[in-house]
Symmetry: C2
Subunit: 112 residues, 2 copies
């Protein structure tokens, strides 16, 4: 089981901002997962991997693939109080789900 969080590398987020957006996405997708999958993922150490994408449309395409594959997912928009314009799409979390199901969605992306 794992969760992948894909964050945009093209919008100049600072490190702390990036981390907060990744955490939002992670929690949101976690809550979409079925309780047995939540438990299995946490019991195995809640593996998380952060990958990068370079556009909003990339995140939407990945989210569509996740939906088609039946993998829990969540797209995050920033409220825009600080660094970003309100509503900026910042991150997508995919899973927790079996590793191969997550890889079907996010397999080609680079580590952040």
């Amino acid at each position: 089981m794992k969760q992948v969080i894909v964050a945009r590398a093209d919008i100049g987020m600072g490190e702390g901002k990036l981390a907060a957006q990744v955490a939002h996405a992670s929690l949101q997708a976690y809550e979409e997962a079925a309780p047995p999958d939540q438990r299995e993922w946490k019991g195995g150490g809640q593996k998380k991997v952060v990958l990068q994408a370079n556009s909003e449309s990339d995140l939407f395409e990945l989210a569509d693939t996740a939906r088609v594959e039946g993998v829990p997912n969540a797209i995050i928009r920033d409220a825009g109080h600080t660094q970003l314009e309100p509503g900026t799409v910042t991150a997508l979390a995919v899973g927790p789900a079996p590793e191969d199901a997550v890889d079907t969605v996010t397999g080609d992306l680079q580590l952040y």
Copy 2:
């Protein structure tokens, strides 16, 4: 309501690594919170702020203060598969809890 995640700035974590550790801490402390506090925090947009500390002992002292104040908290140790030695303490999440309760614990720290 807010959650503050304090991450170590002294151990050279890369951006993606930092984000994953912050997300671990966030979820873990979230699960320590009482369900009404969880709901109130999520309903208000799950405010998260990432701050920095410069040693393991700083994180343990903050965690002690959180315990004394009755604020949910979680310390994260990295499994050490990649960048860090196994067992390295990387991050502490405090809250979700009322803003003033969280500030009592983490008030002096700088943004990451």
